[in-house]
Symmetry: C2
């Protein structure tokens, strides 16, 4: 059952729930057998076979890319990794391959032009998180192939799944198409970020010189391992924005309390305290529950979830409400307000929130030190849903502080400026991915929006306005932790490197053939 | 002009102010010429001469004691220093010299018995602060004699003035009396603390075995350099108590929010925050100004300043209100509520205060880290004035938290339990010190109470109830900082080692001869 946008708007909540029972493939508008016709073609089978035949070479390429360090926060191997990446693009036959200077680590631009009707934008992060080598069972830059139950062979390396190992598999898939077919079925504009692990603070500078070219793109389609350890696939069609701020309350700016450095705490009897002041300011921002935001205008820009988002949500929780957050329950006994799981998922998707990421002032070591600190600071993040914008949110905080007499409290913007992003399930790129999953008989769980944030909005919002989707088989885990891995061999449920690369080929051809 | 306790109670505020104009010696009840008669005696002059003749040996002894490390927080040289100290007491001819075990570093007990009518209790700290040797112009354990304008020769060393160098000068003075007179004019019970720099957490264990003996004491009289760099002398007849607490708010104890470790900050949409909760709890404790405490019962036990304390205060500010806090003005532009200096001094002496020494939660480094912390903590200290007690104050905080729904917030007691202490200016030991200063023509500035805290209350409050006073010439500075020093040569205003040691002799004899 498929539902048009027009029909959607007429649906009552009850109907939505009934529709939800049809599962996620009810959101697919493809002609019957669409993906099967393409994917079972002789041409695609040849590419699949080529991938299987070149497995050893493909594994070696994943290892090569992972063995090149690129730790952005250490400044380790960044330039060398950018150059290795550029060599890959040259091997693909890209017509433009350029290192892009930014105020931080450089980006990379590459344009593959097949003369095809459709053009994809593609986002690549080529940097990795730092690591503490002694915690690893296999060295994080060795990219060794090791056994890991129940997946058989895996590669353990920093960046294995986030994202370099995964990207190397995509490059393998693209090269396989070229080796069999001579050209890709779509044009691709690659935009590569060397600072994703630092919040992509300069990625807009990577895009800026190429915006005119990028306007020709039809979608941001990213390929990679989307399976969990049991083979299940989750998709998210949007992300929240994040407005990160540091609030600093200092005696110096206030003109009261200690001015230049902490003073003996006995002086509290005659001196004001910037620390108490910051607490008063923070206290004024949220209600007694620490959840509801009291700042005027904080919620004003929010649009309610639309019918499509609500129906995706209802399908999601009807399918598996108790499974969606299961991984987090060990560290979270009870959801806010005692919400049941389905309700928690709704709030996780659709609610804006204000968090204290950190707060500090004065002496924080063992025992006591009797000081009256001259400054106190807190890091906050507001998670933003449509149509809350970062700049407007900073203004909300500034106005609130000013109105409550805290105009001396400084606001330092932090982070890379990830705005919210939202793509419709009806976007051809999403439909193409869904059609491939349907042909596999694997129904994904689609979150209308993930609770996290990403630089995706730089593609999905003006001036580019592209739909964005991420799809493909394969599995890896432990991003940002030790023993990060990506599955090479796989099992009945989880795709290994061959099956994963084949799925990337399938998605590209499905999208290329999608009737638009 | 001297004023009896009885007369005091009849005085109006106006009269107090008029009396204050008489200066601090108006508090002295000694017979005319009392100190002069003693100090100009042949016996005392011989002791003075002996000190002058042995200057080189006395300097060497100060160096010897300072060269023995005793950094309590590093555990460096503590036992060896305790043994060196015991050897000094044996040299004095003490009838008991004992190492006293505690749950921390050991204390030392020594009892010198002259068979004299009066017995002093004496407090010695033999530990020193840590140091960062590279910041020092002369190595902190070398105790070199170096030139420092305008004082001539000084000794630079960690502990030079706080307190080991000063104590070595006192030992020199005592030994000089013994060498000339054969015995001291008073009996002395020495109680020595190896953990003063850690807040004296076990000093009560040093006193406990000797309480019966200590009940025979008449006063806690401590000798040492009391002059500032211009030669002025400040005395304080009391100190505030300090109730130090750490408040810990954890998801685990609360049963809400992250339970075991931080969680991704996007989860704030569905999880409560222990950090916001701690802010709400702290906010409830003080008024909007961050100064007035709102906890029920916080102020209840406070007794108003008595006439003597008020008159000392008025004398103090009439004499030099604008000078009393001058050293702090560079780091404190304006006092609380815009108080003028005299008013600030009043509040500094007589007010209880609630300070945040430190607060911390989550990520506090550069940039951002998007986490919802599972715990938040703050260190508080309440400065207590008579009759606020530490245990009662902990109860006030506990009751407040419970009453406001924060019963899960844990209170961890910190610190060594210094209660407030108060001695009357009329105590014979204080009068003896004053009489000596008067004979020198040097009027001290007497604070009825200092704003800081000390273990003094273990002597001045039950079961011992001793008056406590600290006096003597000499100067040193930079305690807890680098290049800590004590003056050896001196100038017209500031006493060098000879004049300082002579003043200790004078005070001991003045007290021994005081008619009680």
């Amino acid at each position: 059952m498929t539902i048009s946008r027009k029909e959607f708007l007429k649906l009552s909540a009850g109907t939505l729930a009934a529709t939800a029972a049809g599962g996620f493939f009810s959101f697919l508008d493809a002609p019957a057998g669409f993906a099967e016709d393409i994917l079972h073609s002789e041409r695609i089978r040849k590419v699949h076979d080529h991938i299987a035949e070149n497995k050893a070479r493909h594994i070696a390429r994943v290892q090569e890319y992972l063995r090149q360090p690129s730790v952005s926060s250490w400044g380790l191997g960044i330039r060398e990794c950018a150059e290795l990446l550029m060599s890959y693009f040259k091997r693909l036959g890209c017509k433009e391959v350029e290192l892009v200077k930014t105020d931080g680590h450089p980006g990379v631009w590459a344009w593959y032009d097949a003369g095809a009707p459709k053009t994809l934008a593609y986002y690549i992060m080529y940097d990795i998180q730092p690591f503490d080598e002694k915690q690893w069972s296999s060295p994080p830059l060795a990219a060794n192939v090791v056994k890991m139950a129940p997946f058989g062979d895996v590669i353990i390396a920093r960046g294995a799944v986030n994202d370099k190992g995964a990207d190397a598999m995509v490059f393998n898939a693209l090269e396989s198409i070229l080796e069999v077919e001579g050209k890709l079925p779509v044009n691709i504009m690659f935009t590569c970020d060397g600072e994703e692990e630092q919040g992509s603070p300069h990625f807009h500078q990577v895009l800026a010189p190429y915006l005119d070219r990028l306007k020709k793109c039809n979608a941001l389609l990213m390929l990679g391992p989307s399976q969990d350890a049991q083979g299940g696939i989750e998709m998210a069609l949007g992300s929240k924005g994040i407005c990160s701020l540091e609030l600093v309350c200092s005696g110096k700016a206030w003109g009261r309390g200690p001015q230049h450095r902490p003073i003996h705490s006995s002086r509290k009897a005659i001196l004001d305290s910037p620390t108490w002041r910051l607490i008063k300011a923070l206290n004024s921002m949220v209600a007694a529950d620490g959840n509801h935001v009291l700042m005027e205008g904080y919620y004003d820009a929010i649009r309610l979830p639309n019918k499509e988002e609500l129906q995706l949500y209802q399908t999601l929780v009807q399918k598996s409400a108790d499974q969606l957050l299961v991984g987090e329950k060990e560290n979270a006994k009870v959801w806010m307000n005692g919400w049941p799981d389905a309700e928690a998922v709704r709030h996780l998707i659709f609610d804006s929130s204000l968090n204290i990421d950190g707060i500090w002032s004065g002496y924080t070591g063992p025992g006591m030190a009797t000081i009256l600190p001259d400054r106190a600071a807190a890091k906050l993040d507001c998670r933003l849903v449509p149509n809350q914008e970062i700049a407007a949110m900073r203004e909300v905080v500034r106005r609130h502080l000013d109105k409550h007499g805290f105009s001396d409290i400084e606001i330092i913007p932090l982070g890379g400026g990830d705005e919210w992003s939202q793509t419709s399930v009806k976007a051809p790129a999403v439909q193409a991915v869904l059609s491939v999953y349907k042909s596999y008989g694997t129904e994904p769980a689609i979150w209308p929006r993930e609770a996290g944030s990403s630089p995706e909005a730089q593609f999905t919002r003006p001036p580019l306005n592209l739909p964005a989707v991420y799809g493909g088989l394969g599995h890896g885990d432990r991003a940002h932790s030790h023993d990060e891995y990506i599955v090479i061999e796989g099992n009945e449920k989880v795709a290994g490197i061959v099956r994963a690369e084949q799925s990337y080929v399938d998605i590209l051809y499905a999208y290329a053939n999608w009737p638009v």
